[in-house]
């Protein structure tokens, strides 16, 4: 089983972090993983993205051209990557920032009002975790508990007091699509 995932959004929305958490979580489950960021000259306010591969086999190309999972935190990211998603794939997008999404044949599309849900939890900045939770609920790419363990390793110690909040956001997103 191989998951090829693109996480994309505005700089500052935490798309690189959720990509790293996916990869870390996969590693903690004994999988082969890669995380590859877009890098180089970027425009302030522009989009950032990363490719994540989680597999039972050694990973070949770390660059995902045809994802089976897309996390889109804003409109430009959805526009850029949605047609690349393979039939049978999953798109989870932040419907707080994106309005209508036309259907794509064979692709499951899930709207998550991430900013509103994050605000309900008391912190706008964890909208990325809500979307990640929903993505995990739909794809089972890695377990939520693995992401929670990964948070301990990915976040610097001075941010560890935020782990319970991140965890709540993950579980909120997860239950949104599984209940």
């Amino acid at each position: 089983m191989t998951h090829e995932i693109i996480c994309a959004g505005f700089g500052g929305q935490g798309v690189m972090l959720i990509g790293q958490l996916l990869a870390y979580g996969g590693m903690l489950e004994g999988k082969e993983v890669t995380w590859f960021p877009s890098y180089g000259p970027e425009m302030r306010g522009g989009t950032a993205n990363c490719s994540v591969v989680i597999s039972d086999q050694p990973v070949g190309s770390p660059i995902v051209a045809e994802p089976d999972g897309l996390i889109a935190m804003n409109g430009p990211s959805l526009t850029r990557f949605k047609t690349a998603v393979k039939p049978g794939g999953v798109i989870v997008y932040n419907s707080s920032l994106v309005t209508a999404v036309p259907a794509l044949p064979g692709v499951k599309i899930c709207a998550v009002p991430a900013n509103e849900l994050a605000r309900e939890l008391g912190n706008d900045k964890i909208s990325n975790m809500v979307v990640l939770g929903a993505f995990l609920g739909l794809t089972k790419a890695v377990a939520v508990s693995s992401i929670e363990t990964a948070l301990q390793q990915v976040l610097p110690a001075r941010r560890h007091h935020l782990i319970p909040l991140n965890s709540a956001a993950l579980r909120k997103g997860f239950s949104l699509v599984t209940e």
Partner: protein
Amino acid sequence: MERVMMKGNEALAEGAIRAGCRFFFGYPITPQNEIPEYMARRMPEVGGVFLQAESEVSAINMVYGAGGAGGRVLTSSSSPGISLKQEGISYLVGAQVPCVIVNVARGGPGLGGLTPSQSDYFQATKGGGHGDYRLLVYAPGNAQEMVDLIGLAFDKAEAYRNPVMILTDAIMGQMMEPVVLPPLREVSPDKPWATTGKKGRSKPNLINSLGIVGEDLERINVELQAKFARMAADEVRYEADGVEDADLVVVAYGTSSRVVRSAISRLRQEKKKVGLLRPVTLWPFPQQILAELAAAGKRFLVVEMSAGQMVEDVILSVNDRAKVTFFGKLNGTVPTVKEVYDRIMSLLPEGGEE
């Protein structure tokens, strides 16, 4: 063994530290900046020296100084910066100073771009500087090899008293993968040739690449060539995956080999007989295995992120015994799995069915 996620550049830097590297001299350039950034933090923790020089030329000459005094020395840069270091590299070979040079390559020529490229193969393997010389050149294929090969590079550099180059690219440097780090090892400071003081010896040690007197230059070159011959005989490394029963063998290294591997795993699900030959040393080049595969009737596809550089060594290795086709990307992009898949399919006999 505990696996940790690291960027290729950081894995390489930590691998160097654990292999006993205690001197780093460099100058910033994308996409290798994580190496000096990491070294700036890490070197003071292990009692080492991190120094950001005023230029690449200065950095490579600091390598000459510290290496001549017997230190385990590293410098890293990316393509335009590696071009600037070429004079220094030639001097390092001439003076037989061990060191490791890392090129996290980007697209050229000139200032080029920041995107990954494999267009520095000629420079790394054929000698970018002047004189009859060779570098041992390693091309890591994943983050673990960034760690393992940099450790090996220091050992080989000292064993041969010759600079060793790690030729990698922006993808390998920026990508995160799990790695298992080796323990920190102590390295013997015992280098009888190093310029660390005369200490009662009658003759002072001299680190110098000048051979202007009498037949000195010929003697130096004969000595160097004998060393390169030993390296060519003993240091070839490659990975062969499914080449024995393959109709077509794809030759690729570094990032290209990753894409090829993805394409091949798809093709194998369709029962196509395709193998991968991945050179781990770009010099010495794995000529022997390629000659054997050619003699066994294989055909070859070479995939590179360049206009075709390693393909020349493949052609030389098979020596007219096999057909060699090339597929390359020129614009600093990486071939997609589908592009490589399609190219392989077009080369398989009768669509490659068994």
